[in-house]
């Protein structure tokens, strides 16, 4: 039966192959286009929000920020010549996948897209063009508005190219369960040495929970921990997009991993997947004395784990340091990029910059969206610094977080970060949780990722 069907199949195959060849030829055409200027291409786009001025030009946006609709409404009410047409294109990886597919298909991408800093290199490197260089649209003159870390995260070492407009960041801090530290009368640690000691003290005084959870599924959090030791593991520059640097085989990385491996062996910490609901439950039950994490953790985890704001015993402290030279670091954050399929590139570039570019939008981002700003003007405003957070016992948390945000210098990521994170996760979980050798683990991870980079056609260079 298979032989006969094979014949028919072959015929159909020939027909379809010729069809798809034609289809493929079409999608590469967009590579050569640099700017578009069709003001009416979006006239019939369907939007999640209500468009206020129906006959104005529309610019389409994908974003998943909580409370984003308020920002869009504010923009549309205050602009009569251009209107934002917003859709939630999915969150994180789901959105990037969709974005990749639409670029591959040659149509369907929005004009403006929300991207995390760590996801941007994959859309800049290589043949396929995804993002427009906003430097060509005057973005460079706004450099002074944003923190250094955020600016470096969207320029990739270039002095003229800007690939996105920074929106939020995730300054790295420590959440402290104040009730636990008060009850057992242990001093809140400021260094990693004190951190370990605090864990031992708490245990000795009868605390049954764990000092913290080292996330087995952690990704960016480890990059932040390494950065504290001055260990840069990835290198990527937009000015030389065919080269990448990957190096976990360095002292800083080994020190950090050995430290957590030791804590795990001593039974001071938990090693669980953060996305597991059990971890959330433990967090809510006071089973973790601290959590070293990005500041946005509050909007997400703390609010989720407690029924009311008053139930939450957490306060924010500076993240523990190795010594006085330990830099301020960051975990996460995102920006608005303009896509190659933007129907009117110039208009899209302006909208991308203006969406979070005024006081109302920035404040709404903070209070409705739980975003931590990268906009210097807001970071230094007294109103922002004095803002109190009910889930942190009315702490003026920004007093602690804002300096970290300003001190952060920026991080670098790979053009295949999803793959790198998957490899990272497996390697680190086996080192910290299962106690396998740090030295062989990091060298194996380095060579795995370097091999992958070569296979993808990149030249591997040193990270320095």
């Amino acid at each position: 039966m298979m032989l006969k069907s094979k014949k028919i199949f072959a015929v159909l195959a020939a027909v379809a192959a010729s069809l798809s060849l034609a289809a493929c030829g079409g999608s590469n055409a967009s590579d050569t286009a640099t700017a578009n200027s069709d003001k009416h291409a979006n006239d019939n786009a369907s939007c999640t929000n209500k468009v206020v001025h129906a006959d104005a030009q529309k610019v389409t946006v994908w974003a998943w920020y909580p409370g984003f609709e308020k920002i869009v409404d504010h923009f549309n009410n205050s602009h009569s010549d251009v209107q934002v047409c917003w859709n939630n294109g999915g969150q994180g990886g789901a959105e990037y996948t969709r974005f990749q597919n639409t670029i591959k298909a040659g149509k369907g991408a929005p004009d403006i897209i929300q991207l995390e800093y760590e996801a941007m290199p994959q859309f800049i490197a290589g043949q396929q063009k995804y993002l427009v260089d906003l430097g060509k649209y005057g973005m460079n003159s706004y450099k002074a508005d944003y923190t250094d870390g955020a600016w470096n995260s969207v320029t990739f070492g270039s002095s003229s190219s800007v690939y996105a407009v920074p929106v939020d960041a995730g300054p790295f801090v420590m959440y402290v369960n104040q009730e636990v530290f008060d009850k057992y009368q242990v001093k809140v640690p400021t260094t990693w040495a004190e951190f370990e000691q605090a864990g031992k003290d708490l245990q000795a005084k009868g605390y049954t929970g764990k000092l913290t959870n080292w996330q087995t599924d952690g990704t960016a959090v480890n990059i932040a921990l390494f950065a504290q030791k001055g260990a840069q593991v990835y290198k990527y520059s937009a000015s030389d997009p065919t080269k990448v640097g990957i190096d976990f085989d360095q002292q800083g990385v080994k020190d950090v991993l050995s430290y957590w491996q030791k804590l795990s062996k001593e039974g001071l910490i938990d090693t669980a997947d953060q996305s597991s609901t059990d971890t959330m439950k433990k967090f809510g039950a006071g089973d973790y004395a601290t959590y070293v994490q990005a500041s946005w953790f509050m909007g997400y985890y703390v609010k989720g784990a407690y029924k009311t704001a008053a139930d939450s015993p957490f306060k924010i402290y500076e993240a523990p340091k190795w010594d006085d030279s330990t830099p301020d670091v960051n975990q996460g954050g995102s920006a608005f990029a303009v896509t190659y399929q933007a129907k009117d590139t110039k208009a899209a570039a302006e909208v991308a910059r203006e969406l979070y570019g005024d006081d109302y939008a920035q404040k709404s981002g903070v209070s409705d969206g739980g975003l931590f700003p990268t906009w210097k003007k807001l970071l230094s405003s007294t109103e922002f610094i004095n803002q109190t957070y009910p889930y942190l016992g009315d702490q003026k948390a920004n007093e602690v977080i804002a300096p970290v945000a300003k001190g952060w210098a920026g991080d670098q990521f790979l053009p295949f970060q999803t793959y790198a994170y998957d490899a990272q996760q497996k390697s680190f979980a086996s080192i910290v949780k299962s106690g396998t050798s740090v030295d062989s683990g990091v060298s194996k991870l380095t060579s795995t990722l370097q091999d992958y980079a070569k296979q993808q056609g990149f030249t591997v260079e040193s990270v320095k």
Partner: protein, 304 residues
Amino acid sequence: MDWVIDMSAIEHSGKHAGSHIRGNPRVFTYVVLIVCCCYFLLPVWWLVVASTKTNGGLFNGSHGSMWFDSTMAFWDNIKQLGTYQDGVYWRWIANSLLYALVGGFGATTVSVMAGYGFAKYRFRGKKTYFNIILGALMIPATALVIPTFLLMSDINMTDTYWAVLLPLMLNPFGVYLMRIYCSESLPDEMIEAARVDGSGEFRTFFQVSLPIMTPAITTVFLLSIVGAWNNFFLPSVVLTNPNLFPITVGLSQWQTRSTAGSASEQIWNLLTSGSLISVIPMVLAFIFLQRYWVGGLAAGSVKA
């Protein structure tokens, strides 16, 4: 939940005490069935309970996961479902109903015609044709989703109702079932008699054959509806506009929204109450239409 089943079991065994089930160790049967019912209902009960909790209650409520929290939030959750993201939830339910009914109807029509054609006509290439269809049952969906998406993009079909509806028409199992049913239960003599009476092929199909095929048609229709209602992978790729999402894609987006890292928000309570409401239509359909399942599948599957 457990006591509900216990009660009905006791009630029934009481009523039929001493009745004749030849050689059947009745107690054993009851025990097996009760254990099975508990097992199959356990997650459903969890869902019912979970849908009455607030987000915090799900994690930190009293009385554990299998009993109600002290805060009863079911109606609040329902209200929130109606307002969260402008009540897009109900739109998703409506979309799912549309996809299920229209898609189910289309798939059934196509399958019934094809099954009838395969069973009642001899034509060149039939055997190969049918074998290819059977082979189609074995192809992994992932192999098709990406190329389908790319091809759809070329003709501007992504982000439309058609992008979800049209692929649903493909139901090889329905064809297979209809073919066997027609071969077994639709006598050639009847069709031949209609032909002799001068009835055209379509008239014969509609007036003579269809009425006899009703049980199998109902089954194929139900199977198609369930398939369309559960449809997840393809719509999640070809749709970006949330106004077109079926409920499965919408809820899974809420799930990633709840678990993902940066700048997200936890809406587990909407996820649980939304899941509960979304399974109600199909569960009711199952309970009231269950005899149709048995009828159609019986005829289709006994062919040994």
